[in-house]
Amino acid sequence: MNEPTDRVLMTGNEALAEAAIRAGLEAYFGYPITPQNELTGYLAAHLPPLGRVFVQSESELAAINMVFGASATGARTMTTSSSPGISLMQEGLSYLAGAELPAVVANIMRGGPGLGNIQPSQADYFQATRGGGHGDYRLIVLAPATVQETADLTMTAFDLADRYRMTVMILSDGVLGQMMEPVRFREYHRPELPPKDWAVTGAQGRPQNIVRTLWLAEGMLEQRNQLLQAKYRRVEANEVRVEAGQIEDADYVIVAYGLMARAARAAVHRLRAGGVKAGWIRPISLWPFPSEIIGRVAQQPRVFLTVEMSCGQMVQDVRLAVGGQCPVLFYGRAGGGIPTVDEIVGQVEKLALPAGGPR
């Protein structure tokens, strides 16, 4: 079951599910919502024969709370949904963070706000990286750009969740989730991880364990928050994931993640062929955000163009990272619209000045 495979053709959603199973997913709880129903279907078919848990919950609200319960016992557990369902989970995500419970959550993003549509979107970036639920907490947010990367990052997600006792959110979208690409599953090896001696399993031979988020005594909650913040600093120091190409001499740097990163790379390829010095930066971890590389690249005069399937969310983090050193522009489509390679190339060509680069 954990044998590495040859290339198989799978949708992003199915690859996510298969990767989760290989990473030792013990319990899945989820509710149907387009465009991630392949996930619930795949796991409903594959988990019970392995003796693992699958429950279709009554709502996303219930699903994230079932995840809370399973995680509290020390099990590897996951839920998946799409934008409106993730909104319902925000309370649960806050509680998971407060209780320091590991979990993996996947958001296969769709157009919003409200019921929106079932086309892809990247408009949940704020929701994912700014918390979404109440209180000072963070999620580790990973953004794959291919079906292969979806599988690989899913396996990594479970390890990160256990290592840091956090929720790791995989941010995919309706196209990435439903497109089919070849994927090879590596053999999963569980790394050395801290023991879950905090789990509730029945207080046999030890004092009771309490999984809690309420701290009423004077100063306690502030202490807890400081603990969490110290952890988040460790994550920021160790878990930034980013990829970049042709940035050294680039006059125009396109910053994009997920599906848009594919378009950005293709655009850079075309621009270079046309004599424009373009490069790309692809954040893979959206939190922690790869501010350092962007800040460094911004030390030379360039123009940054952020491309998203939204009205402009990640662009704010790019602006923060650039720190005013260079102009940061934005191009996006909303409500299910997908920026094309042509459109992105057009945006850069509009900016491209005659030889000599930007002022």
Partner: protein, 246 residues
């Protein structure tokens, strides 16, 4: 002749003095839960789930592994726990806001799925923790912080009879309503609580729910003694005691 001790605190009930008001029913129900756990010898296998409500600090009083969860979500969290650890004894302890209002979907579906859980539902017809607001189980004409003119059926609806609602579901294995308004009632309640835990120990199918009518002297604006009388005279006709299923 030497005196023999015939009544003492059960070991699973911690020594901490409780924050509950004088005459609050939670103290009695906590003791019954602790006694049941000790009678059945399941302390080291038990995982409890505390609600949001006056009993939010139940883990300070019950010496078992416990999880504190969001308002109303206990049956969903319990499902997550029991499904991955079916050999553990998992119980939810919830009040009337937690279970019958915000948590209505969760208890309905946990029962509907027949999750083999033990649910102790403490019904005191009011929201205590937040200052005495109307609960789904507040009775008609009851004056509360959010029904200052008294509850009216045409405006606030009728009091919700949770035990009856859940007993009709095939997934409900055992449903009984008890009270703690007299020593005799407490004895009956104890037997019911033990049975509700025992069914899980014996892997009997379906969800076990005990609805416990419990006094809230503070927000009923009564003395503890008056509260017990009100419970008997006003709540019992609306929420009939007895075994509804199993």
């Amino acid at each position: 002749m030497t005196m023999q001790k015939v009544f003492a605190r059960p070991p699973t009930l911690k020594l901490n003095p409780t924050h509950y008001c004088p005459g609050c029913g939670h103290g009695i129900v906590h003791r019954l839960v602790a006694e049941a756990i000790d009678d059945l010898g399941i302390r080291e296998r038990t995982i409890g789930i505390a609600p949001v409500g006056c009993a939010v600090l139940a883990y300070d009083y019950l010496d078992v592994d416990m999880v504190e969860v969001a308002h109303g979500r206990a049956p969903a969290v319990a499902t997550g726990i029991k499904r991955v650890r079916p050999d553990r004894i998992v119980f939810c302890y919830q009040g009337d806001g937690d279970l019958a209002s915000i948590g209505a979907a969760e208890i309905l579906h946990a029962t509907h799925r027949g999750e083999p859980l033990t649910v102790i539902f403490v019904n005191n017809a009011v929201y205590g923790m937040t200052g005495g607001q109307m609960a789904p189980t507040s009775v008609l004409q009851q004056v509360t912080a959010t029904s200052p003119q008294g509850r009216r059926a045409d405006r606030e609806g009728y009091p919700m009879q949770v035990a009856e609602l859940l007993a009709v579901l095939p997934g409900a294995g055992y449903v009984e309503r008890v009270g703690v308004h007299s020593p005799a009632a407490v004895r009956t309640a104890k037997k019911a609580v033990v049975h509700a835990f025992e069914r899980q120990v014996k892997c009997e199918p379906g969800l076990s729910l005990i609805e416990v009518l419990s006094p809230c002297p503070t927000y009923w604006r009564m003395t503890p003694a008056q509260a017990l009388r009100w419970l008997q005279q006003t709540m019992c006709p609306v929420f009939p005691l007895g075994r509804l299923k199993g």
